[in-house]
Amino acid sequence: MLEIKDLHASINGKEILKGIDLIVKPGEAHAIMGPNGSGKSTLSSVLIGNPAFEVTKGSVTFYGKNLLDLSPEDRSHEGIFLSFQYPVEIPGVSMVNFMRAAVNEHRKYKGLPALTASEFLRLMREKREEVGLDSKLANRSVNSGFSGGEKKRNEIYQMAMLEPRLSILDETDSGLDIDALRIVGKGVSKLKRPDTSLIVITHYQRLLDYIKPDIVHVLYQGKIVKTAGPELALELEKKGYDWIKQEVGE
């Protein structure tokens, strides 16, 4: 379970997160919505340990461990996964080599032996079929020359491979056409297990049609200003954020 208390974070001396409190229990799906520039992506960056951001105050624990003490790779080993808003291209590095390094590092952390080449290839094939990724993509360099939709699907595929305890989807729906959205949405909901958690950062209701959130938060000016059930997402879709801004007193 993830527990964020009074989290403040800044980049280049500018404070972006101004006191976030959030608890995500095993099995829960949370949606985080909010206008542009409210700090949604900063929150995901801080959770994965992006060194560009500085945590100035507050605490984050993950299943009892102080997350802020862990290196980015150990946060991954502990089961935190981020589906990046802009997945980066790594030319020359095949998906096979990349995922094999990742999966085996996770296994090493758990004290398990590395998978053999054939075990690994079998796992890749199974997971690929599970999330509906084209086999051609799996043979190419990491995200290299992928379309926007292919990149997002590739993120979900990696999520399937690494079986995280907490997945953060940062605007995974942006840049997707309706078909790609369905594939990604269905893929994520298929991967959702009773004991794993989700944080879905999004502007729109459409991804939430597939991934039903238990709780919806509105992040505004670096703080969570409203928390409610799934109906809040629908309301925001209809009315926008102005009424929230007014409630906050602007």
Partner: protein
């Protein structure tokens, strides 16, 4: 198990080396005084019991060297070298001023050995510690040699070749790289210590990579190495020079020459993994590697391929080149040059098209990290008579960090209208975003850099013999440790 075997082979080779030069009766004078003069050249030749024609060759080279100045055109800062402060001959049997035990070897080097998984005994020999090994008398070398001899293949030290096959040596030595070629070639021709000689007779395919052998042999070839490879008509050989662990070496200056002659329809593949001691992280010490390597595609439809992975040496000055004079001949140059800390490399190739329908390919991958400087320098020349010449060049640079330099100096000199010459170049950087992405998937920064660098270099690594490709991959990662983050 494999490494153990290599070690055993090495020790066997090492013990055998003692007898190679026949110096066991000459223990009193195993190092000659510092300095270079005509007398020194004569002394070297005398100690090696060389014939007069070779002494004349050395003396001519020496006299010519005296008229030359060190080249300054490379993008390198080379500290002044005092050529009179070097001893030009040492009995390879005797380790001079070497460390007595591993405790005296640079601890950073030991760390690297451990990361590469080099067994302790081999670490000692690579680190320059004298290994007293008592082995059975059957030498691996002899075993190799016998199976090669059955096919008429000659593979021996160049000193031995001078004694046993003087006509071949006389015919080809200096035929591709003359002593007048450049400053370091003249120096090497005057004082070369030893090296390898290969002759593959007509129609023979060499049945094995001439590599493990050399791994043993390389230990004692000294700083002025001379290699001569001849592939007669329809012959084939794949030759691998190098060692995949960084070697400690007290000789700062290395000036080697490699000459390759390829006759009609013959093919030679020459692969190098060069990782001499690069100096420490502050740029102290390290080898100066000033090498002249050139092959001559003399015969029609002959083929020559250079593959090099360069990660070592403080300064590298090296341009493995091809002269394509046979019609329909083909030449390739595949290179990965990695520099870190304060290393400097100016490396590339020359493709000289003389014959008709000659093709050449250049793939160069530079990787710069730390405060290093990495330059590609290449020449493609198409002469007036080289009808339908083709060249494709691809020169890529990868930067790690913002304190290193990558430079590309392509020269083209085209004198025939039918030539097609293509040049592509890219420069890229390992970004923090790429590293973070790998970290987020559970991959440590060091491993991420290794993955990215090996991915970038794979077109070249794929050209190496399988076993060495794997070791070269490891080497690239280890050489870059600490260069990010």
């Amino acid at each position: 198990m494999k490494q153990e075997k290599n070690y055993n082979q090495y020790v066997k080779g090492f013990t055998h080396e003692k007898y190679k030069y026949g110096f066991t009766t000459d223990v009193d004078s195993d190092i000659i005084d510092r300095g270079l003069s005509e007398d020194v050249v004569r002394l070297i030749s005398r100690k090696k019991e060389e014939p007069d024609w070779l002494l004349d060759f050395r003396l001519q080279a020496y006299r010519h060297w005296l008229t030359l100045k060190m080249p300054v055109w490379a993008h390198l800062r080379i500290p002044k070298i005092d050529y009179q402060a070097i001893s030009y001959y040492a009995n390879p049997l005797k380790k001079k001023n070497g460390p007595k035990s591993l405790d005296e070897v640079d601890p950073e080097l030991i760390k690297t050995f451990n990361k590469l998984g080099i067994p302790l005994e081999e670490q000692m020999s690579l680190g320059g510690v004298a290994v007293d090994a008592v082995m059975d008398s059957v030498s691996v070398k002899t075993t190799f040699k016998e199976s090669l001899m059955e096919k008429g293949i000659i593979f021996c030290s160049i000193s031995e070749a001078v004694r046993e096959h003087p006509d071949l040596v006389k015919k080809y030595l200096g035929s591709v790289v003359g002593y007048r070629d450049n400053f370091f070639a003249a120096l090497n021709s005057a004082v070369f210590s030893d090296g390898s000689f290969v002759y593959i007779p007509k129609g023979v395919r060499c049945p094995m990579e001439l590599s493990t052998y050399f791994r043993i042999n390389a230990q004692n070839t000294g700083q002025f190495e001379r290699t001569l490879i001849i592939a007669d008509d329809d012959a084939y050989v794949s030759y691998l020079e190098g060692c995949t662990a960084p070697m400690r070496d007290e000789n700062q200056l290395h000036a080697a020459i490699v000459e390759i002659i390829v006759h009609d329809r013959a093919e030679v593949k020459y692969s190098t993994v060069q990782n001499w001691y690069p100096g420490n992280a502050e740029g102290k010490g390290g080898v100066y590697n000033f090498v002249t390597k050139r092959g001559h595609c003399l015969g029609e439809s002959s083929k020559l391929s250079w593959t090099q992975v360069e990660t070592g040496s403080a300064i590298t000055w090296k341009y493995p080149s091809c002269i394509l004079s046979g019609d329909n001949s083909t030449a390739e140059f595949y290179s990965v040059a990695l520099t870190n800390n304060y290393q400097q490399a100016d490396t590339g190739t020359k493709m000289i098209h003389l014959g008709k329908n000659t093709h050449s390919t250049i793939v160069s991958k530079g990787i710069s990290a730390g405060k290093s400087e990495n330059s590609y320098r290449g020449l493609v020349r198409v002469s007036k008579n080289a009808v339908n010449a083709r060249n494709y060049s691809q020169c890529d640079s990868l930067l790690l960090g913002d304190k290193c330099g990558a430079h590309t100096f392509p020269y083209m000199d085209i004198h025939n209208d039918t030539a097609v010459v293509e040049h592509e170049a890219t420069t890229s950087k390992i970004s923090e975003e790429q590293i973070l992405y790998c970290n987020q998937r559970g991959i440590k920064t060091e491993d991420a850099v290794g993955l990215i660098v090996n991915g970038y270099a794979k077109d070249v690594l794929n050209k190496l013999p399988m076993e060495f490709a794997v070791e070269a991959q490891k080497l690239l990662s280890v050489s870059l440790e600490g260069s990010i983050g």
